[in-house]
Amino acid sequence: MAKDAIVFICANPIPEMWPWEAKEAGAKIVATGRSDFPNQMNNSPGFPAMFKGILDVGARSITDEMCITAARAISNYAEEKGLNEEYIIPTMGETEMFIQESVTVGLKAIDRGVARIKRSKEELKVLASSAIQKSQGITKIHLEKGFIQLPTE
């Protein structure tokens, strides 16, 4: 392969090859579908925030451009935090990423005329962050009251 090769090993949970094998063979950046290795590529940083943005503006359709905008928003967030070989994509725990992505997608839908509800950047931000906070709050209470248990490792 070329210099500074990038390898995405997407089969899950058993990858086509192990990340260290790819690295030994000369890959610079390796990403897999697994959360126990660095660079987990998963659709979870993608669709929840995308749909939040789409639903908040009542978009009539989801265009390819909106999908790519969402991808760029995820990458921009990672870049702000400092990209490196072991960090090319944020994890599920990075709440702020979901808010930024949702706002960007919502604004794109408005800009391209597929939105039925016009909202400002600030409004979209509040909608996304309050929805996330609400869910996190419910989960926390359920954990404290013993209704649900943390997943076992």
Partner: protein, 103 residues
């Protein structure tokens, strides 16, 4: 997609310039290819391999399979043929989406 954009930022390469090899030619890689092209990658520099060999214009048995034949026509301008080893030459990015049950 996001991972690809970020990874290219780390290694300082432009999406228009890179050669991408896809191993696996079913729904997952087909859609990756679609969105990577929409994001600005050059299809002529892409190569996809299915369970038999590299997709190229000579694979006339694939004409019935519109999705694969479309890739045969659009990608692999240099007309590479053969196995995965040939597909990997000069590749900047490798995407693996293989059904391991078939291996």
């Amino acid at each position: 997609m996001a991972a690809l954009i970020s990874a290219l930022r780390v290694v300082n390469k432009k999406i228009e310039d890179i050669s991408i090899t896809f191993i696996g030619a079913r729904a997952a890689n087909m859609n990756c290819a679609k969105y990577i092209m929409l994001a600005g990658a050059n299809p002529e520099k892409m190569i996809m391999v299915d369970s038999k060999e590299i997709l190229h214009k000579g694979r006339i048995e694939l004409m019935q399979d519109t999705t694969k034949w479309n890739i045969c026509k659009k990608t692999n301008k240099e007309g590479r043929t053969g196995n995965i080893k040939n597909a990997l030459k000069k590749a900047d990015v490798l995407l693996l989406y293989i059904n391991l049950d078939l291996v």
